[in-house]
């Protein structure tokens, strides 16, 4: 308990230091506030535009989570399919490797062209960006079953599907977790880029609009909300993973 409180205090201290540094730079350099607003001014803007920020943050968050869920589902399904079917491996794996070499962010204009300015293009951007890391991390884990376990499965005359369920999937869960960690980090980038390319709502849209109007404080306020959103997403994920991977957990199976 004291440890958690101590960590909280340390975090608060670091935050305070960062804010002080920021304000110090603003004072010392004397830059006008439309170039770099101080933290107090950004806080003011946060407060004044709370309703608008919340509304746009909601749009961004919903697309982010929808894209995340769909991308993870698609990636997991692809990896399972590839692990089960040598034919699928032959056809799809080179494509997967090639697709990883394409900077997916560069596809944002095309996606917007095809799917319009609404939510679908943002969701698809998130899916595209996280699909490959999730698929390849999980697939690698599935294929890297230790040789002794593979021998055992063969001696016990395992069917391919049951071998997958009882051996490969549990063995690959840590790999899937590292793929998901990447997904959780990339997804906010993807959704904001989707909004930058073409949108009439969302935090990314708000940032572009505020920038265009010289409302730098509002732009920074949007950025703060976006950072908070990413941080909450990441911490939630880490908490869930930490719970699941806690050592000494009682046998759930059997």
């Amino acid at each position: 308990m004291i440890g958690a409180f101590g960590a909280f205090l340390r975090g608060l201290l670091a935050l305070g230091f960062g804010l002080a540094l920021w304000q110090g730079v603003v004072w010392a350099s004397g830059v006008p506030s439309f170039i770099l607003p101080g933290p107090a001014r950004v806080a003011e803007s946060l407060w004044a535009n709370a309703a608008m920020l919340a509304q746009n943050a909601r749009f961004t968050a919903v697309n982010l989570l929808t894209g995340l869920a769909a991308g993870v589902a698609l990636g997991v399904a692809t990896a399972l399919n590839l692990a089960l079917s040598p034919g699928a491996r032959l056809l799809l794996r080179p494509m997967l490797i090639f697709a990883q070499a394409v900077p997916v962010f560069a596809l944002a204009p095309v996606v917007t062209l095809w799917l319009g300015y609404g939510a679908p293009s943002k969701i698809v951007m998130v899916m595209l960006v996280i699909y490959f890391p999730v698929t390849s991390a999980f697939f690698d884990g599935l294929m890297r079953l230790p040789a002794p376990l593979a021998d055992m499965a063969q001696l016990m005359r395992a069917t391919p599907v049951r071998r997958l369920i009882w051996m490969q999937v549990p063995h690959a869960l840590p790999s899937l977790a590292s793929g998901l960690r990447l997904a959780v980090v990339y997804a906010p980038f993807a959704v904001v880029i989707g909004e930058w390319v073409g949108s009439s709502r969302g935090l990314g849209y708000l940032m572009l609009m505020a920038n265009g109007r010289g409302q730098t404080d509002l732009m920074f306020a949007s950025l703060v909300v976006l950072a908070a959103l990413s941080l909450i997403l990441f911490l939630t994920f880490e908490t869930i993973i930490g719970r699941l991977a806690r050592p000494g957990r009682k046998g759930r199976v059997g």
Binding site: D151, M152, Q154, L155, T159, P170, G251, G254
Partner: protein, 243 residues
């Protein structure tokens, strides 16, 4: 379940080089035989061959069971590391074979075996929380529940401390008494305690040494006949090393 004997003859090749030439091995039905020889001579390769596992080796010859039935699905294997699933409970580990085949896991039998092997109350523990000896007993329970007439043991006890190893040898000898067991080992004492026949492997072939059946396995480690035989085996292994 009547265990068949095994007969294996021919040349064993590893990739493109001959590993052991002129093999002619007999494993009597329902008895323990052991494979001895220096490291790298091909003991584990022979074990994999008998179990029907894949590898970069090939037998120019044949491996047959005495009853003419295919060995596929008849061989269980237990190795040094136990190969337990680290994420699954002890009970789940013991019944994994049935799960992998899509049969209903016989948890009652699994619990009975665990009790017989001295693992009462550990059914829901994870392998990581067990000692090395306990883990090997779980692996033994998993091997036993498969009910295979032929069992290959690839140095199953070599990572255990001396006292635990003796206890495990007693347990395995009792539990696997009616099966045809191929024991791969480095340890002459283990060979003398458990096996009725020892095969000394070298690149030129295999030589049979019948171990004195003064008593049924597991033989006492302090018995004169056992100790004399152990000394003889050690001398032979030392001679092979020098050659």
């Amino acid at each position: 379940m009547t265990a068949p004997g095994l007969h294996l003859h021919g040349d064993l090749w590893l990739e493109t080089a001959p590993l052991i030439r002129n093999l002619a091995l007999d494993f009597p039905a329902g008895r323990w035989s052991c494979l001895l020889g220096s490291s790298g001579v091909g003991k584990s390769t022979l074990g994999r061959l008998i179990a029907g596992l894949p590898g970069p080796f090939r037998l120019q010859g044949a491996c047959r069971s005495s009853d003419g039935v295919s060995l596929r699905g008849q061989v269980a294997m237990m190795a040094q590391d136990g190969q337990l699933l680290p994420w699954a409970s002890v009970l789940h580990n013991v019944t994994i074979g049935a799960r992998l085949r899509g049969d209903k896991p016989d948890t009652a039998r699994a619990r009975a075996l665990l009790a017989e092997l001295g693992l009462v109350g550990m059914a829901h523990r994870r392998p990581g929380t067990l000692s090395g000896g306990q883990r090997q007993r779980v692996a033994l329970a998993r091997t036993l529940i498969e009910d295979c007439p032929v069992v290959v043991l690839d140095e199953p006890f070599s990572a255990l401390d001396a006292a635990t190893r003796l206890a495990m040898q007693d347990l395995a000898a009792r539990m696997l008494a009616t099966r045809t067991v191929v024991l791969i080992t480095h340890d002459p004492l283990e060979a003398v305690r458990l096996a009725d026949r020892a095969w000394l492997l070298s690149s030129g072939g295999a030589e049979a040494l019948d171990l004195p059946a003064t008593a049924p396995p597991p033989r006492s480690y302090c018995d004169d006949a056992t100790l004399a035989m152990q000394a003889r085996l050690l001398a032979r292994l030392q001679g092979m090393q020098a050659a």
